[in-house]
Structures are given as structure tokens and as C-alpha cells.
Symmetry: C2
Subunit: 200 residues, 2 copies
């Protein structure tokens, strides 16, 4: 039997995506699934679908801070309110695609989300991305150069368009085939589906 594939669409701008990133690898291992990390630009997804960020509803934005703190404590992972939010993540995402080509996609993705949400570092800056790349075992200067290549720029647009076409409207978004799962809070349901405990 072929191993199921979990596609994980991520953008480091999303704190719930960071939270999910701290659990998804262990989940994939438990259910024997292949995990495929796919950078996409959440801002464009919101724009294309008419969805809005949580902070556009002030009461929701205020609640989100308490909610995130609870999840971080529940998972036992660091979480800070980053000094800049929202932040431009387009270079970080392109670097994620370049890291993928170098065979270090998951390591870079994990590191860049942790840098922003776990440590409050400004991941829109080249200097931060260089350090994150190094921590993920990559040549940061080469990676940043690649973020200016048309093929990498196109790949990010293409991932984003594909996610929207397949039904995504937020982040994190997971696909198992064309079954879509949205949200860090759906990891339990995702795991049950992959374990065969849910047919839906």
C-alpha cells in the first residue's frame, strides 16, 4: 500500500501554522504518512477568497493572544507576541522553496516559524534569514540570492494559486489527496482520518 501524503501549506505569518509546525512531523510519523511542506502566501489566499485576518475583527484579535498562549502551553513550545505583526513573509517563503531544492525544506520552514513566533525575530530582514538558514544547515547567501530568481518567484505564486484552486482560504491548510483540513485545531481530526477512524 502506498503511504498517504500530507501536504502542509504554511506561511510563517500565521501563529497557528507555527503551532501546527511543532506537531505535524510527529503526527505524520505516527500514521505512517509522507509529509510535504509547501510554502504559500497567506495574504494572497485571503485576498483571493475574500477571507480576512483574525485581527480585522478587534474582539477576535484580542482573544487570539490568550488563545495562542494556551495552545503554546498545551504543546509546551515557546510563543511570543512578535514586535512586528503582520510582517512581510514573501522572502522567507521564497527562501523556503530554495531550501526545498537543497533538500532542507522542513528544517528551514521549522526554523523560520520558530524564529518569528518562538523568538520574536524580524524574519522580513535578510540578516535574520541568513541566521535561520545557517541554523537549518544551509548556505544563507546562496539561498537569499535564489529568492530573486524568477523560477522561485513563480513557484511561490503557483503554490498559492494551487491552494486556492483546491479550496484553501486560510492557514495552516493540510491536504490528504483532495480532503482538506484547516487549522492547528484540526490536527486531531486529521490524524483520526489518516488512522482510518473517520471516513469523512
Amino acid at each position: 500500500m502506498t503511504e498517504p501524503v500530507i501536504e502542509f501549506f504554511w506561511d510563517p505569518v500565521s501563529p497557528y501554522t507555527y503551532l501546527a509546525s511543532t506537531r505535524i512531523e510527529a503526527l505524520a510519523l505516527r500514521v505512517g504518512a509522507v509529509l510535504r511542506w509547501r510554502p504559500f502566501l497567506l495574504g494572497k489566499v485571503l485576498e483571493a477568497t475574500g477571507n480576512r485576518p483574525n485581527i480585522d475583527v478587534p474582539a477576535k484579535g484580542r482573544h487570539m493572544l490568550a488563545d495562542l498562549a494556551r495552545w503554546a502551553q498545551h504543546y509546551g513550545v515557546p510563543l511570543v507576541a512578535p514586535p512586528i505583526f503582520p510582517i512581510s513573509t514573501v522572502t522567507a517563503l521564497r527562501a523556503g522553496l530554495a531550501a526545498e531544492q537543497a533538500g532542507r525544506g522542513p528544517a528551514f520552514a521549522t526554523a523560520v516559524m520558530r524564529a518569528y513566533w518562538g523568538e520574536g525575530r524580524d524574519i522580513s530582514q535578510a540578516q535574520t534569514l541568513l541566521a535561520v538558514a545557517a541554523a537549518a544547515g544551509l548556505d544563507g547567501a546562496a539561498l537569499l540570492a535564489q529568492t530573486q530568481e524568477p523560477a522561485i518567484k513563480d513557484a511561490l505564486r503557483s503554490n498559492t494559486d494551487e491552494a486556492v484552486r483546491r479550496g484553501a482560504f486560510g492557514a495552516p491548510t493540510f491536504f490528504v489527496g483532495e480532503q482538506m483540513f484547516w487549522g492547528n485545531d484540526r490536527l486531531g481530526i486529521l490524524e483520526e482520518c489518516l488512522a482510518g477512524d473517520l471516513s469523512a
Copy 2:
């Protein structure tokens, strides 16, 4: 030590509130909390906070059906796509307040949410509410008469205003003191907080 109180703000228009209603009583029992069912008008909460229903974002609305089916299967409870959605729930909510005065608030709330989301019945109709009231051990005719009383109308407005003032922007909303929890998908986090496993 005083038992903690969980306030559960519910409106039967919300499918996730129905789902939560099938689990919250067992949860309260497990953590030794008192459960207080509080009807509120979700439409007014959305209006007051600038929040929007899921179905306003078409991709979100489409996904919601799959997501609800998974939760229903996970919980082992019936769930149908009701013939009318959204639906006016103001009479049902006022009846909920009248039922509360008769000491049957939880029974009525549970029954009316199950009638709509579990059985697809039109809970905007007096006939349906009469049957639901009877099933909850209430005098339906008396209950419906009470829904026209100014005190009941005021009580619904007052619950709704209070929820907004305390930070609510959607449903289901739970309060433990002034700690707010939003969503059926936060029952696990709510239980952990009540059990003392989370300090946040």
C-alpha cells in the same frame, strides 16, 4: 472550595454550538464545574463586533460542511444540513429563557439544537418549538406565550449585550470567570484549564 462555573453562550443557528452542546455536560461533570446555559443572539454579536458568518466566505462555507461531518462522526452524533440556513432563532432563544425559568433550560437548549442540526427541523416555526418543548418536559403553549413578554425579550438582549461586552464575537462562547473560550474545537483546552493543567 467553590465549584467553578462554566457559562455556555449558545444560539441554535450555530452548528458548532450544537456539536459543543453534545459534549459540554459530560465535560462539566468530569471537572466538577457548574454549567450555566445562556441563550444569546449570534446575529447581533456578529453585527456588534464586525465579525461575519463563515458562509460569507464561499470557500469557508463549502469547507464547513466537510468539517462538520467529520466532527459529527468523531462525536458519534447525528448532523444534517438543515433545509433552511441560516434561520431565525429569536423565538427559540426566548423560549430557552422561559424554559430556564421553568427549571428546564438545559433540556430545552439541547433539544432545540438537536431538532435543527440533528434532525433538520424548522425551529423558526411555533409548531416545531411546541414539539421540542414537550420533548423537554415543558408546557409548549405557555412557553411560546412567554416569548412575547417584555421581560423575556429584554433578557435575551441583555445576555447578548453582556457577551459582547465581555469579549464574545462568535459561538459557542464559554466563560470561566472572565477567561473566554471560543469554539467547539476549544473544549479540550477548556477542560485542561478547568483541570488545572493550563494556567493561561
